[in-house]
């Protein structure tokens, strides 16, 4: 330490004005003492060692800004591991988002098909009454079941029907869609907005347009899931011998409903994506004292805002 003490004796007598201002720090760099974000502070050339330094305006600690490349490989290896873990986590969350959107579309279809399914149940009941004299073995329990969208379908009756003609006879899709799906949408909306908020923070590198376009990815995945496994012409439920009235009703109401619901879900997610960062910034300002905010400076800097003070 002896070789460093002698210049410092001179330094102690020097005033800070002997430090020459070189430039301004534009990057994100936290003070090693108090964690204050030094972005915007002057870069100084101090007179004793000719080093480039930045002084923290909060605690006065000097931070050196000269950096040297390192030969160690573990930093890069760990960076790769963390990046891979982060990427896999995001993929899992993406799948979960698509699953939730699939659930939104299916519950919306279910509630939108209820009216048409109940009407189909009425039609089947009338048909069953006509079948009574012929001694249909299913008559007894089929007629006694309560009338609802989940009324069990008699396959004989359904095979004799033309589904498109049935729907058209009641005024088509728009006349038979149950408007109660609006309530299902209202219940799902907070979750969809929250999902948008989550993704706006998870994908900090994306700007607004990128975020809005990104939302189409889980929507597309949900559309694929709906086509493959959901209610509709390819529904697995239709492969069983006995099915509920809602299964057949949703096969007709569902395809258009999936598109409308996914567009609605996209709009809700976009709302969350656009306000998510602002909401979180507000929460950080509200809940955290200034000392702890600096670690979350990325939330501000990603949108080109000044880091929190």
């Amino acid at each position: 330490m002896s070789d460093l003490k002698s210049p410092m004796l001179a330094q102690n007598t020097n005033s800070p004005s002997s430090e020459q201002r070189v430039s301004t720090l534009v990057g994100d760099r936290l003070c090693i003492g108090c964690g204050y974000n030094l972005s915007g502070q002057a870069v100084l050339r101090e007179s004793i060692y000719n080093m480039l330094i930045v002084r923290c305006p909060e605690c006065g600690i000097v931070a050196s800004v000269q950096e040297y490349p390192l030969l160690g490989r573990w930093a890069n290896r760990w960076a790769f591991v963390f990046a891979a873990v982060w990427f896999i986590t995001l993929l899992i969350f993406l799948m979960a988002t698509a699953g939730i959107l699939f659930g939104v579309s299916q519950t919306s279809i279910e509630s939108a098909s209820a009216k048409y399914a109940t009407w189909l149940g009425v039609q089947q009941l009338e048909w069953l009454k006509q079948q009574q004299p012929t001694g249909n073995p299913n008559f007894g329990w089929m007629q006694s079941q309560p009338l609802s969208p989940y009324t069990t379908v008699d396959p004989t009756w359904w095979a004799a029907q033309d589904p498109n003609a049935l729907l058209a006879s009641q005024g088509g899709w728009s006349a038979m869609v149950d408007r109660n799906f609006g309530w299902t949408w209202a219940n799902w909306s907070p979750l969809l907005i929250t999902l948008g908020c989550f993704w706006s923070v998870a994908l900090l590198q994306l700007r607004r347009r990128g975020l809005v376009l990104f939302a189409l990815v889980p929507i597309g995945l949900a559309a694929v899931l709906s086509y493959m496994f959901g209610y509709g012409p390819n529904s697995m439920l239709q492969m069983y011998g006995w099915s509920y009235m809602i299964t057949h009703a949703s096969a007709q109401i569902g395809p258009r409903m999936v598109v409308i619901t996914l567009v609605f879900s996209w709009l809700m997610m976009c709302a969350g994506l656009l306000v998510g960062r602002s909401v979180l910034r507000g929460l950080v300002r509200l809940l955290l004292p200034p000392r702890l905010r600096s670690s979350l400076a990325g939330l501000w800097m990603t949108d080109g805002l000044a880091p929190p003070k």
Binding site: G35, Q66, L283, P290
Partner: protein
């Protein structure tokens, strides 16, 4: 094996030279034995990253803790407000006789705890903003129920909010009146919050004093 550290002036490898803490700037320096140029020894990126992670963890934990407290306080305030509906139609004496413990809990303990937290937990925010913001937040949550039932009614969803607008307005006025009463009682939490802050900052002062003494000892005798 030590990581290479070349002198910026002459290119001498300073890897084997031990860094010493510069007493004025408090940064780790190495003086080149060849040209006498002083160079900074940076922390290893892994170590730096770990420290950055610890800072981030501290921030996130603090935020999580605050959110948890916020949720708990919101829930118990709403419970206290919903309990107040049970007292409608009772005379004060009868209600006190029947629900003494619940009344003390709902209208004394809950508001005072809330007031203490608003003072001590959110000390970094302007106090008037926090108090007005909290009152509006609870009032907003109270009205959400009516808005949701209004939407549900449009879709023929069963609901338990009265269809009579007069009854709804009366319930809203009751809620807001109770909230105003609770916030007035919550003012009693102000001195408690101040006291809590004082003792906390006293502990902090003690901690920093001890740290300064330790550093001074190390610098002078270490």
């Amino acid at each position: 094996m030590a990581i290479a550290h070349l002198c910026l002036e002459c290119g001498w490898d300073l890897a084997r030279i031990r860094a010493v803490c510069e007493p004025h700037y408090r940064i780790w320096l190495v003086r080149c034995p060849h040209c006498a140029r002083a160079c900074v020894r940076q922390r290893h990126p892994l170590w730096r990253g770990w420290r950055k992670f610890l800072r981030l963890k501290a921030s996130l934990l603090a935020m999580l803790g605050q959110t948890f407290v916020l949720l708990i306080l919101t829930a118990i305030n709403l419970l206290a407000l919903s309990f107040s509906h049970q007292l409608r139609g009772w005379s004060a004496a009868d209600a006190w006789e029947e629900y003494r413990a619940q009344i003390i809990l709902s209208f004394v303990v809950v508001p005072i705890v809330t007031g203490t937290w608003l003072t001590a937990g959110l000390r970094h925010c302007p106090r008037w903003k926090i108090w007005i913001g909290w009152t509006l937040f609870i009032a907003l949550l109270l009205s959400v129920e009516y808005v949701m039932h209004g939407i549900g009614r449009a879709f023929n969803i069963p609901h338990y909010v009265s269809n009579n607008p007069r009854v709804v307005v009366r319930e809203l006025i009751w809620n807001l009146g109770t909230l105003a009463l609770m916030m007035t009682i919550a003012l009693a939490g102000l001195p408690l919050g101040w006291k809590l802050l004082q003792s906390f900052s006293g502990n902090q002062r003690h901690y920093w004093r001890k740290r300064r003494i330790k550093r001074r000892m190390l610098r002078n005798f270490g």
